[in-house]
Amino acid sequence: MTADADSPPLLSPQRRVSGWMRAYRTLFRWELLGSRLLYPILIVSQILVGAGFVIGFGLLIPDVDADTARYLSTGAVVMSLILVGLVVSPQLIAQQKMEGSYDYVRSMPVPRSAALVASMSLGLMVAIPGIVAALGVATMRYDIVLSVHTSAVPAFILTLACGSLLGSAVGHAIDRPQATLLFTQLGIVFIIGFSPVSFPVERLPHWLSNLHEFLPIHHMSLLVRSSLTEGLVDATVKSWLVLAVWTVIAATVTGVVMGRRA
């Protein structure tokens, strides 16, 4: 290939940044418009999941005391943040693979990192209404008091980023859409049922709580919960570190998988 006379082979950093930003904006719009019928449904389902989770378990659990309610409501927030990244994004990727638009998107002349960040931004957009709904419902129904710390901002962002990167690593790495869907279904079961997101970690059997020391989910909940409540749990430096390590691993895998040529 011969380089066009108008476009120099190496762009200046400013032009690369502005080119990346333009690609990001375009992709964000493209994905948003391309699935414009899907996003309202996703947002509504996030709201329902967030609020429903708090109310639903409140219905099932025989006696809901203040601590149970605080666990449930902060757990719903964590759940929204994790599920958008870890479940919704691989499912969207699987959907694109099934419909055949996956390769099409990859063929577009834009940086793949811009595509990734665009879909993460959409994930955040989808997650926020669910989080607000979960906290709103919890404060109304159970009269709990939340105290929001400044650590909420980094905790939320790191949780979402880690979940999204893990989700996209899975979505891109697994070629068969059905396998991805299964994986995410099992992921939902594991996160909701066997992870100390909405109940104290002490209720888990010993080996499982030990396992969660090394997985990201427990630490995500610790960080988010300690940033929203007082005296329920304490987040330590270890949680930040574990989560950071997982984020780096997921980013690396995503980068390698997305960067490979088919």
């Binding site: 899907l38 449904i41 389902s45 329902l48 999941v49 429903g52 989770f53 639903g56 378990f57 219905l59 099932l60 659990i61 025989p62 149970t68 959907q95 099934m98 059905q178 299964l182 279904q185 099992l186 079961v189 909701i192 049922g193 066997f194 909405s198 109940f199 209720r203 888990l204």
Partner: protein
């Protein structure tokens, strides 16, 4: 090569239908074999998993609450097969463009439909039994198993499969199907009095469950596993389930019988 076309025999009759049915049973079970195996695994994981999971969420339970939990598990293990796997299996056909192919096969459509239905109605049962055993062992409650467990399970499983079959055929878009199945699971796992007493629910929501099939499914199965725990009339639950089966049967028949 000469082809004689003077005799065109329209094949029909019960013998032909039965042959077509067994062929379609073979066709579908081989076609879906990976999916069916995975489904069985998921069901076991879900059945056993929900037992433990509700335990984590609920904290300490008294013995009546434990019995409710254990006897609700079989229903929970059956529901995903009918309400989730059946529509998804039909969606698979649509996505792989084998949907029209299956209808083009020289068999009565009713035999094809019955074959799918049979596979899924029976598929749920082994997983359900194991899930029940796991729950029973985990909580060690007293169960009084009666012979009516057999019709209760067959009935519940069949209703689930027929509603799922109707949804799979009536709803054209795969995305909408997966949305519906997700909502159903959410509804069943969190908002249904399957593992807890219905009295624990607010009045209007309990009323809704007198119309929806899920609570009735748990009633007929719980009645066959316990003595005196079910206080509502069991025949009414059978009746409501039968209505659901009839509606979905008619809906499925209309779609399946339609020519394009």
């Amino acid at each position: 090569m000469t082809v004689t076309t003077d005799v065109i025999r329209v094949r029909s009759g019960s013998r032909f239908w039965a042959d077509a049915y067994t062929s379609m049973l073979r066709f579908e079970s081989r076609n879906l074999r990976t999916y069916l195996t995975i489904g069985l695994v998921i069901q076991l994981a879900l059945g056993a998993g929900m037992t433990l999971m509700y335990g984590f969420y609920f904290g300490d339970l008294d013995s009546a609450q434990q019995t409710f939990l254990v006897t609700g598990i079989p229903t929970l293990a059956l529901i995903p097969i009918g309400f989730v796997m059946v529509p998804n299996a039909i969606m698979e056909h649509k996505l792989h463009d084998t949907y029209d192919y299956v209808w083009s096969l020289p068999v009565p459509r009713s035999s094809s439909a019955m074959a799918t239905f049979t596979i899924f109605a029976l598929l749920g049962i082994p997983g359900m039994v194991v899930a029940l055993l796991i729950a029973w062992v985990t909580y060690d409650v007293d169960l009084v198993v009666s012979w009516s467990l057999v019709p209760a399970v067959l009935f519940t499983s069949s209703i689930g499969a027929s509603v799922g079959y109707a949804v799979g055929h009536v709803v054209p878009q795969p995305r909408v199907i997966s949305l519906i199945t997700n909502i159903v699971m959410f509804l069943v796992l969190l908002f249904s009095p399957i593992v807890v007493a219905i009295e624990q629910f607010p009045g209007w929501w309990a009323d809704a469950h007198h119309v929806l099939p899920f609570w009735h499914m748990s009633v007929v199965i719980r009645a066959a596993l316990t003595d005196g725990l079910v206080t509502t009339p069991v025949p009414i639950s059978y009746g409501v389930l039968a209505i659901w089966g009839a509606i979905s049967g008619v809906a499925a028949a209309m779609i399946v019988g339609r020519r394009r």
